[in-house]
């Protein structure tokens, strides 16, 4: 806001010098009066917006600028134009062969599957009476309460590579394998294990929003629907529940996207190294970490970051298109 205000005052001081456009200066004057009237509102939003600008807006803008440079954290950034982006999409074999396909597979499974699962679970739970409902909701939400770091302890022990690991132990007992598998270091398994863990912990705030959305639908609508000829529960869900709770579903979708993108680092935690073995569990964020904080090619890492942010934006627009209330509704 401060930037806006200074820009306005500059314009205002230059306007009388021009003299030929009184309407503009008067309009700006009017705006200033209006803004002064709301000075208390600006005071209210100031603490948040200050932090917002310093720690979110400036980093994003700086990231965009850095992405066009070569920067190793010691020397001054050197301008490189579009070279980082060109390299990202034409030269970076690891990115093209491992990171992109991994991220795509990860996102497709964790995003939509997790989302549908959240909806299905929320709908089933909403059918239960309230005492039971609370406990089931708590059971589903509890995994996302656990900080990621804490859970890697559990999961690493479950998937440990020798026979004392639970999964190995069961597979040995049932005779499916005859010697222990290094699950977390094997490129065939790592990504799949990451997907399972992420879906497990994805019933978070989005799930609660959907559950509350379903509970909030007016019961009379279902009765009206019955009179209008809705015969099955499925039709009820499709024609009444979903349209009525689009806002909550939209919120859940945004949370799902952010969750999916943020899930980077889980492969690094599980396998204990960045890059992950044979790049099997390398996701976009791990790639940023690899270039940014291990190789110190900060300009290049910024280019990847900007790509990630754009991806987030496009995905959210897509979801917004799916769930936004239409004009005719």
């Amino acid at each position: 806001m401060t930037g806006n205000a200074t820009a306005l005052s500059e314009k205002r001081s230059s306007a009388p010098a021009v003299g030929t456009k009184p309407s503009i200066s008067r309009r700006i004057h009017g705006l200033m009066i209006e803004m002064w009237k709301y000075r208390l509102s600006y005071a209210f939003i100031f603490p948040f917006m200050a932090m917002f600008i310093i720690f979110i807006l400036i980093p994003v803008v700086a990231g965009v600028l850095l992405s066009f440079t070569y920067f190793n954290a010691f020397d001054f950034p050197a301008w490189r134009g579009w070279l980082n982006y060109q390299n990202l999409f034409s030269q970076d074999v690891v990115f093209l062969q491992h990171v992109l396909p991994n991220s795509f597979k990860f996102a497709v499974f964790v995003g939509p599957v997790g989302y549908l699962l959240a909806f299905l679970l929320a709908w089933l739970i909403s059918q239960l009476p309230s005492t039971l409902r609370t406990w089931y909701a708590l059971a589903m939400y509890a995994p996302s309460l656990s900080a990621g770091v804490a859970m890697t302890v559990v999961w690493t022990v479950m998937f440990t590579g020798d026979r004392s690991g639970y999964i190995n132990s069961f597979l040995l007992k049932w005779g499916i394998i005859d010697k222990p598998v290094y699950l977390l270091l094997d490129q065939d398994y790592l990504l799949n294990i990451m997907i399972v863990i992420s879906i497990w912990s994805s019933m978070g705030i989005g799930f609660l929003a959907i559950l509350a959305g379903i509970l909030n639908v007016d019961k009379q609508l279902y009765e009206a629907g019955k009179i209008d000829g809705i015969s099955s529960r499925l039709q009820e869900v499709w024609y009444i529940t979903v349209p009525m709770m689009k806002p909550q579903m939209m919120f859940a979708a945004i949370m799902a996207i952010v969750h999916t993108i943020k899930s980077g680092g889980i492969g690094v935690q599980l396998s204990g190294s960045n890059p992950t073995p044979n790049y099997a569990g390398q996701l976009l964020l791990d790639h940023i970490g690899d270039y940014g904080f291990i190789r110190f090619e900060l300009g290049y890492a910024s280019a990847i970051s900007i790509f990630v942010l754009l991806l987030c934006y496009v995905l959210s627009k897509f979801f917004g298109f799916l769930f936004a209330p239409k004009e005719d509704e």
Partner: protein
């Protein structure tokens, strides 16, 4: 004295049990089927958590037993002692990490809730010039994954000179777009007449905010507190990037140093299990206490 207390307790229990039986009888057949269907799934979701609790109390020989056990047989607090002993040999004791975590979580939760509520109020109730633009920015920032621009953030923190301070932990977390967003949706539902009436009675803006708006959005405040608490408690980013001194890092960071590369090693498994339990309990307790309010908030936060 004690016998009578026992009787009271027993009566309480039986009443609860009767309630439960009654609740079961009242269920429709479809509901029973759903409950039964969901039971294994709920158990599956909770399995790792049950395991977390048991694992933390297992003695060393049980941790590596073959075949592995799920439920602890001879519970011991040895792992917690190991966690403490482990950090005695290093320069920074684990209690310091725990202290840091508590301070950082407490301060940033309060900062997030207060600034979020203050920002949401004018956005919802006073259409000041530029409010649409600010709201749009915040909506956009909902998508923001802090990890994606870690590098510029690092530079910002460095140039502010707040590395290795508690401010460096707290300030980057303060701007929580989800918080402003949810609170704004909630405040939208407060009728404007209420505030006009207060104004006629002579209340000033700040009084209206503290006496009318905040009490009315109490459930939403509870929800934001939980979100804020969770994001601050589990956060490793500030420790990893902005703290170079070990004495300033937090518990989750310490945990991640314990757990990385754990998959195929024997050392420190017990300590890691104990630490994981310490990490998990506070968010669970906070959520159980306030879950009703959370669900209520979600129901009324429609983006309409």
């Amino acid at each position: 004295m004690q016998a009578s207390r026992l009787i009271v307790m027993k009566r309480r229990l039986t009443v609860k049990w009767e309630d439960f039986v009654l609740a079961i009888r009242l269920l429709e057949r479809a509901q029973i089927w759903i409950a039964i269907l969901l039971l294994p799934l709920a158990a599956f979701m909770l399995l790792p958590l049950v395991y977390l609790f048991n694992h933390a109390f297992k003695p060393l020989h049980e941790l590596f037993l073959f075949p592995p056990t799920f439920i602890v047989r001879e519970p011991t607090t040895g792992n917690f002692a190991e966690l403490l002993a482990l950090s005695e040999s290093t320069i920074v004791p684990v209690s310091r990490y725990i202290f840091n975590s508590i301070v950082v979580t407490f301060l940033s939760t309060i900062a997030m809730v207060v600034t979020g509520a203050m920002c949401a109020y004018p956005l919802s109730k006073h259409p000041f010039p530029g409010s649409k633009f600010v709201l749009g920015l915040i909506m956009l920032a909902l998508l923001f994954a802090t990890e994606a621009v870690a590098i510029p953030r690092f530079i910002v923190i460095q140039s502010l000179g707040i590395m290795n301070t508690y401010l460096g932990h707290v300030l980057p977390l303060v701007a929580l777009p989800v918080g402003v967003f949810l609170l704004k949706q909630f405040m939208d539902q407060i009728p404007n007449d209420l505030m006009e009436a207060a104004k006629i009675d002579g209340a000033r803006e700040f009084t209206i905010f503290m006496r009318i708006v905040i009490p009315l959005v109490n459930p939403a405040i509870a929800t934001i507190s939980i979100l804020a608490f969770q994001s601050a408690w589990g956060n490793t980013e500030t420790s990893t990037l902005f703290m170079q001194e070990d004495a300033m890092k937090t518990l989750p960071f310490y945990m991640s140093t314990l757990t990385s590369g754990l998959a195929n090693s024997v050392a420190r498994q017990g300590a890691a299990a104990a630490g994981a339990l310490i990490m998990f309990i506070p968010p669970l307790v906070v959520f159980i206490i306030s879950q009703r309010k959370v669900i209520a908030t979600m129901a009324h936060s429609g983006i309409k």
